[in-house]
């Protein structure tokens, strides 16, 4: 079946602009995660959705970052007033949810964001 997809694959923007990154999870997966990965580092947790609600947004670096998942499927990560330090790979993952310890996260290919 189809895996997690993310669009766009690459996004180049100018400092101060607004960007939206989209994630399509695996069908039927109720849990959705966003991560940010800088070069040479492991993915850094940003936010977790269970269904439509953001159950844990403790990883969002500041109020310029916001994410939604209005219908419990597709999610959009929104970044306002982008800064050069926001340049990174943004990864989305989904899982079945439900609290099972074997709830494996399946990652998408990521969106590489470059802020000039």
């Amino acid at each position: 079946g189809a895996g997690v997809s993310q669009t766009p694959s690459n996004k180049v923007t100018e400092k101060g602009k607004y960007v939206e990154l989209r994630c399509d999870p695996i069908s039927g997966h109720t849990a959705l995660y966003w991560y940010r990965q800088s070069l040479g580092q492991g993915p850094e947790f940003l936010i977790y959705f269970q269904g439509t609600g953001a159950a844990d947004d403790s990883g969002l670096p500041n109020d310029r970052f916001f994410a939604v998942r209005p219908e419990g499927s597709v999610s959009t990560l929104k970044i306002q007033r982008t800064e050069r330090g926001d340049s990174a790979m943004y990864l989305c993952a989904s899982s079945l949810g439900g609290g099972a310890h074997t709830d494996t996260q399946y990652f998408g290919p990521g969106t590489r964001l470059t802020v000039l």
């Binding site: 849990a31 492991g42 947790f45 269970q50 993952a93 074997t102 494996t104």
Partner: protein, 113 residues
């Protein structure tokens, strides 16, 4: 969340068995150990998960000693396509309905022809 420590990098020749050890001294009772593989410009891919003793699947084996303070990912007969970064994660099972995992810097495995 339990912190993990792994070697930054490893080299291996094709056809050899590779063992990558991860230390997680403060692992909690309900924590599971999960390993992911990541190729450049791709998202991480689940390899294997375990709680104790030994787990084996078609890709790898995971060895966990009785004290669970470390774990070893074993890749049999590596090929050039196994060149990637390998992450060891320790995260709570059944905690609030999800696993908030923390990735470290991982181990960069370079397979040499």
């Amino acid at each position: 969340l339990a912190k993990t420590t792994q070697p930054i990098s490893m080299d291996s020749y094709e056809g050899q068995e590779v063992n990558i050890t991860c230390s997680h001294n403060n692992i909690a009772t309900n924590d599971y150990i999960t390993w992911y593989q990541q190729f450049p410009s791709q998202g991480p891919r689940f390899i294997i998960q375990g709680y104790k003793t030994k787990v084996t699947n078609e890709v790898a084996s995971l060895f966990i000693p009785a004290d669970r303070k470390s774990s070893t990912l074993s890749l049999p007969r590596v090929s050039l396509s196994d060149t990637a970064v390998y992450y060891c994660l320790v995260g709570p099972g059944n905690s609030g309905g999800y696993q908030k995992v923390t990735f470290g810097t991982g181990t960069k495995l370079q397979v040499i022809p």
